[in-house]
Symmetry: C2
Subunit: 303 residues, 2 copies
């Protein structure tokens, strides 16, 4: 398995899950990148944009390509839509061209359940019309469509994973990945936590290790393709999340309320039945159980 | 009204319709382009990529931006997907940024009903899940999504027109725009016409002047947005189209049959009810009536 973004938040947990299942893992990292998650069981290869010959050599003998690298987050995409086109979509096409030229059997893509759908009330299944309005989600959906093209042109199999609000160890505040590291950082520094939105601002929080384990099951059948929501099907409002923090961590904090940001969806709760059809015995970790360990991991990374 | 692609096939007919309705028209053309459709009622301005200051000046005082320019066709997009990202999507974002900065009220976009949906049997309405697999259609759909972003970010109104197989005067074989000019060119040169596909390969042929007149109605209400199929709702197989040519033009020809190309849909017939709800008295031109005049226009352009 060749992985991009393998030193990042979700990608590094996927690498762990793939190693645990006995796969050989090669991680493609940008030249000069010092991995957050260096691991001597992983073969790291440095690679930059626009080096198709080097990429062709790397792709040879890979069975699977798992694509996690993404140069933006939803707030950055909202402010700078060109980054989606000039970095994310462009790099993805370069990588997929190399995949199909080298005969890679399957591509796994970490898409975004939180942004490709746009705003929908209630449970969202994979078959609704995607209505993204945030450039980050537009970029992810466009890459999904290009994967359909490569699948049709070359016969490569493709699993798309539309991931909800992943949280857990290794999520970093510097990368603006999600609300929990931002709040934990504010609590750690004794500042009030900033809450955008209220009761109606619902999110589907999924533990990053659940994401990794479920995506790893895509390696069991390299001749199958599908699009899967990775969420728990449970909506948690930002106010409920504040309350979970108050109940589960050992430091008091103040709360500063502000309106929902226009770059954000109102509600995003993902119907998980399709992926559970593939892994029927799977049980999701519960957010209430995971806040305390996530806080401990956050503090440990700070020391 | 500021128009890109105003010297091209559909764009030039839109310019005619806008002029006929009394609008002032400015056409943005690439530097050095000699228009096919120069008209002294139109203000032509030369513009190239990556000149944001010049573009900002041009956009000032424009009420509407109508975007027809597109650097590829479905066959070219299939062979060279990067052109969609690096030319079409990128240029569209540059243009839309300038629109919203200048306070343009409405954007009209010429999308592609023939490619954004992918393969669907029967009538296709605007609310189905788009499943494009040709990079040309992926590029068009991605630009639609970016328009949803600009609409949400800035409040600009947006009409998206998903156009079927447009045909009629000024369609050029050099630009690989559609099957009729290719076949007419082959007939004109005494070669057999090449037919890809058979009875089941259904297309929705709409006369380019119907496209232009329907899109022009988008100028009547600058504070309304929508996505509209522009097709007749009638499917014509490639074999029926050959027969219409045999019945309506004055030159015999031979036919060479080949399988449908993998870059093409099986069937694409567009449900026109939404646009007819806006223009209830509209009657589409009939393909059988328009083959002979299109052939005459083709020959006249050759002489």
């Amino acid at each position: 398995v060749l992985v991009t973004g393998g030193t990042g938040f979700v990608g590094s947990h996927f690498v762990d899950a793939a190693l645990a299942a006995g796969h050989d893992v090669t991680a493609l990292v940008r030249a000069g990148t010092q991995g957050d998650h260096n691991d001597d069981r992983v073969n790291y290869i440095e690679h930059d944009f626009d080096q198709p010959e080097a990429l062709a050599a790397i792709m040879t003998h890979q069975d699977v390509f798992a694509h996690f690298a993404w140069a933006s987050d939803p707030v950055e995409g909202w402010c700078n839509p060109s980054i989606e086109v000039e970095a994310n979509i462009r790099l993805s096409i370069e990588l997929f061209e190399a995949c199909v030229a080298a005969g890679v059997k399957k591509i796994l893509f970490a898409s975004s359940g939180g942004t490709v759908y746009g705003s929908y009330e209630g449970l969202i299944c994979e078959d609704v019309v995607p209505r993204p309005f945030n450039p980050y989600g537009i970029g992810k959906l466009t890459v999904e469509h290009f994967l359909a093209y490569y699948q049709k042109r070359s016969g490569v199999d493709v699993d798309v994973y539309r991931i909800g609000n992943a949280y857990g160890p290794r999520q970093r505040v510097e990368k603006k990945q999600g609300v929990l590291p931002r709040w934990m950082d504010q609590i750690y520094r004794g500042e009030p936590v900033d809450v955008f939105g209220g009761e109606g601002t619902l999110r589907d929080y999924i533990h990053v290790q659940d994401v990794a384990v479920l995506m790893e099951t895509g390696l069991n059948d390299l001749a199958a393709s599908g699009t899967y929501n990775l969420g728990t099907g449970i909506g948690t409002s930002v106010l409920q999340l504040v309350q979970l923090l108050q109940e589960n961590i050992d430091r008091p904090f103040e709360v500063h309320h502000a309106p929902r940001r226009e770059s954000d969806n109102t509600s995003c709760i993902l119907d998980a039945r399709r992926i559970l059809g593939r892994v029927p015995d799977f049980r999701f970790r519960q957010l209430a159980d995971e806040i305390a360990p996530t806080w401990e991991a956050f503090k440990a990374a700070r020391i």
